[in-house]
């Protein structure tokens, strides 16, 4: 799924990385627990979270994730945005709650990546 499609589906605001919306993500992960995100390795994944601190960006960097969606209208700090820009990570903010945001992406065909584990 193109990142632009995530923007459209979630009516998200693009906080940084507007030039990278053509990029593809192949799976998604919704969590506020960064260690759970780290336990789950998939390339080209998008992270949906309600957590706002620099470790969210660093976790995405460790996992080679290209896009983070902050749910419930949360907006990251300037420091976090700068870190994302430096590392080519798209940051989005949506008013949707976590459950609804994940549901919309899943329904549109973006899986959780477990399909590949079998």
């Amino acid at each position: 799924m193109k990142i632009q499609s995530i923007v459209d589906l979630l009516e998200a605001e693009v906080l940084c990385g507007a030039d990278l919306l053509d990029g593809n993500v192949q799976s998604a992960c919704g969590s506020d627990m960064m260690s759970d995100v780290l336990a789950y390795v998939k390339e080209q994944a998008v992270l949906l979270t309600g957590l706002v601190n620099p470790q969210v960006i660093r976790t995405a960097m460790m996992m080679d994730m290209h896009c983070i969606v902050f749910v419930r209208g949360k907006v990251p700090s300037e420091e976090m945005i700068a870190l994302a820009v430096e590392n080519g990570i798209v940051l989005l903010s949506t008013e949707e709650r976590m459950y609804a945001a994940c549901g919309k992406l899943y329904t549109a065909g973006l899986g959780g990546g477990e399909e590949d584990d079998t």
Partner: protein, 141 residues
């Protein structure tokens, strides 16, 4: 056998928001050395969890990286409180981290299990009241 490439990184304690900076540096360094992305990710995640642990529990410490021809060794050393029961600490979900750390997205009892998951070997030397040294090996794919 040729000497390994060695790198040393201090891990400052108390400042949770900057935790992980050494892992970011290591990631860039390994990329410059042409190591495969999968190997880089495993090293970076294991080291990142270790850094977070040192900041949460031990007021910081140090991280050493040794790059050999066929594997990478990560040595994380601190002079923190030590781990009284390693078997318990290795259980997913067991955590002694304070609540404020949980609100930051860590402290779920996944750190050490994740470090083990992503490495080919992990040894923990710990003494209560003295400190902990975690030595991890990641084979180069």
């Amino acid at each position: 056998m040729s000497e390994p490439l060695k790198f040393h990184f201090p891990v400052s304690g108390g400042d949770f928001t900057s935790a992980g900076k050494a892992s970011v540096q290591v990631k860039k360094l390994l990329r410059q050395l042409g190591i495969s992305p999968d190997t880089i990710r495993r090293v970076a995640i294991a080291m990142y969890e270790g850094e977070i642990n040192m900041v949460i529990h031990a007021n910081g410490g140090s991280a050493d990286l040794e790059i050999y021809g066929d594997h990478i060794k990560i040595i994380l050393a601190d002079t923190g409180p030590g781990i009284p029961n390693i078997d318990l600490a290795m259980q997913e979900g067991f955590s002694t981290a304070p609540d404020n750390i949980r609100s930051l997205g860590f402290g779920a009892g996944m750190g050490l299990p994740n470090m083990k998951r992503y490495t080919d070997d992990m040894q923990i030397d710990t003494e209560v009241g003295v400190g902990t040294t975690v030595t991890m090996r990641v084979n180069i794919a």
